[in-house]
Symmetry: C2
Subunit: 376 residues, 2 copies
């Protein structure tokens, strides 16, 4: 929690649950990443947190943007960014969304299938396109399954076809999984991309960009490697596989930029036990999985908590949200411990909740309003 | 899909994704349940779908309501229902919510812990309270874990304490899990409750109500038992365990009332393969887990689909949502098959989506607006 957030919470005592985000921290994170990967162009993954104060600050810093939908493209343009700074990075787009983005000047689009290329050729002719390939996600706390990307052999064919269809086969992309804590994951993926670069060159397609995706981790409950370690691993692998012909490098950080810039301020609603001699207390908060903490699904992302009683005796707890839905349980198996003194009405802070929280909040599950947001 | 919904979709061709709900079907379901359980009082679980047209229709039918929050209490009152018809059924309530409900005349509250009893004694003095006990959830497709309810021995102590604290220890409740397809689950839970009734009577506490919760299933992809089978199992168990001293019976259906009253109309955004020879197509829709279909988590609820090509040759598919989140995948392991002819732009219907869909929709994940809703 930054001093500015601590001061705001103390002065304003905002109604809970709410998110408080320090926009200066967003800027610091952007600069840290820039310094760790000076050759890369940063495309902020808007989906992590599309709040206008974040987009405006990043626009001022010269950031580019990775948009997942026409609505996100529109939000970036409203923040004052140029259309040339936008990559429409979702490989699954309605053709109406492609048309709308193209009409406003967007000229970079992701794809991973022939069907998507056909839409792009029709509705965004001449645009730069990049193909997402499937790579391993080992080491990621929020792995990505096979939903996005295609196998390398298909990517090769589609890149050739893109040129034939009047599109510019500009780049290749991959994603090693979100909250990726293993620096070696990038090296393996870069090796795979480099081979495809060579294959395509032999087929007459000169690819000029590699998009390394995002996934750079944020510190939640456990320590994670420093961003410089990722920078070193990535640049080492790029030099090893591309020699002195390094292509444009694009990165798409979301979590890394916004994650540790915010806390959620919440309230303890109830502390109880299921039986008199049960050593585990249940702690119910006024925010849960459907109020924004969706990434606690499967206890994947393990947030850190601050309470007014930190430093006093602790005991084991199960932590749950406020809705009448029993899947709205945050942590049951991750050995969380909280102070014995914790009681209803206590305010607690959930740290590093700036990314992938606000927009996940349900519009009204159990009648609860979405999380309030404060950008300071 | 009811004829009224089919007509509406054909006449209006509403923008996708959207939900279309036939309020007449809600009434039919209410009457079917009433006829299967004539001795029970029906408390509609507002959280299943809190739309005003549903609450108003049910109010007109004399239904009671199970509310999960002050906001739901308020919605029920706005629909014209009397405060006496409301049970505040969440065992985890902010004290401010208890006070607000009590001030508007609500006099029935759930609890499962001493901490909650203390709040109720302070802020809803004299109210009827009922204690939720833990029972097995075997057979439920959306089981409830241990989040709500306490062990029987603790329930016994808390019911005695409730009387001492100036509350009315009115009833006991349990929940066998949502989309419960095993009629025997109720019999086992009723036996457990009946023993506690007897114990409490010996301790001088005369309990007058048993709340059987909800969980009555809706037909999704697979057949489920008829509601009459649940009625028979429940009344058989009540007679067996309570003889001719059957207490008030309360049921809290949500899914059963609203589930099959609606369809989601969606659009196919992309059909693709991960490799040329991959037999499985990926079908991406403009609605997914974060657009309302949250109960597909773990592929728990298996919705049925209707396409314009039904009856033609089908092949295996993975079905996914439109966001850049790879957990936004609906069905990968449940052997779904869809027509080979399916293509981007096709409209499809997702059946029996009237309950636990609209309110789960995220406020803006990836920039997508929440599901539009049409009540006809």
């Amino acid at each position: 929690m930054t001093p500015k957030i601590a001061q705001f919470l103390s002065d304003v005592q905002p109604a809970t649950p709410c998110l408080v985000l320090d926009v200066d921290r967003v800027e610091q994170n952007y600069r840290r990443l820039q310094s760790a990967l000076p050759l890369a162009r940063i495309y902020y993954a808007v989906k992590a947190n599309p709040a206008a104060p974040i987009l405006e600050r990043l626009t001022g810093l010269g950031s580019c943007f990775d948009a997942a939908s026409w609505e996100e493209v529109s939000a970036v343009l409203e923040a004052g960014a140029a259309a040339e700074s936008i990559s429409f990075g979702n490989t699954v787009k309605k053709e109406s969304a492609i048309r709308a983005a193209y009409a406003r000047g967007v000229r970079m689009f992701a794809f991973d299938s022939e069907g998507e290329l056909e839409k792009l050729a029709r509705s965004a002719p001449g645009s730069r396109v990049y193909c997402r390939i499937l790579v391993g996600n080992d080491g990621a706390e929020w792995p990505l399954s096979r939903k996005f990307g295609c196998e390398v052999e298909m990517a090769r064919e589609l890149m050739i076809k893109a040129g034939e269809m009047g599109l510019d086969p500009f780049g290749l992309s991959f994603h090693v999984g979100s909250q990726q804590t293993n620096t070696a994951a990038y090296a393996a993926a870069i090796a795979k991309v480099a081979m495809l670069f060579t294959d395509l060159k032999e087929a007459g397609v000169k690819v000029r960009m590699v998009n390394l995706g995002g996934g750079y981790p944020v510190r939640y409950r456990a320590e994670v490697p420093e961003i410089d370690a990722f920078g070193d691993a990535i640049m080492g692998a790029m030099a090893e596989h591309f020699g002195n012909a390094i292509p444009d490098i694009v990165v798409e950080p979301g979590r890394f930029i916004a994650g540790d810039a915010a806390v959620v301020s919440a309230e303890v609603v109830l502390v109880s036990r299921k039986a008199k001699d049960d050593p585990v207390r249940w702690v119910y908060l006024d925010i849960g999985r459907f109020g924004g903490l969706a990434e606690t699904e499967g206890e994947a992302i393990k947030y850190a908590f601050r309470t007014p009683h930190d430093g006093t005796a602790e005991g084991p707890v199960t932590i749950a949200g406020p809705t009448c839905d029993s899947t709205d349980t945050l942590y049951e198996k991750s050995n969380y411990r909280l102070p014995e003194k914790l009681q209803p009405g206590d305010r607690i802070e959930i740290l590093a909740t700036g990314a992938y929280v606000t927009t996940y909040a349900s519009q009204a599950f159990n009648g609860f309003a979405p999380l309030a947001e404060h950008y300071i």
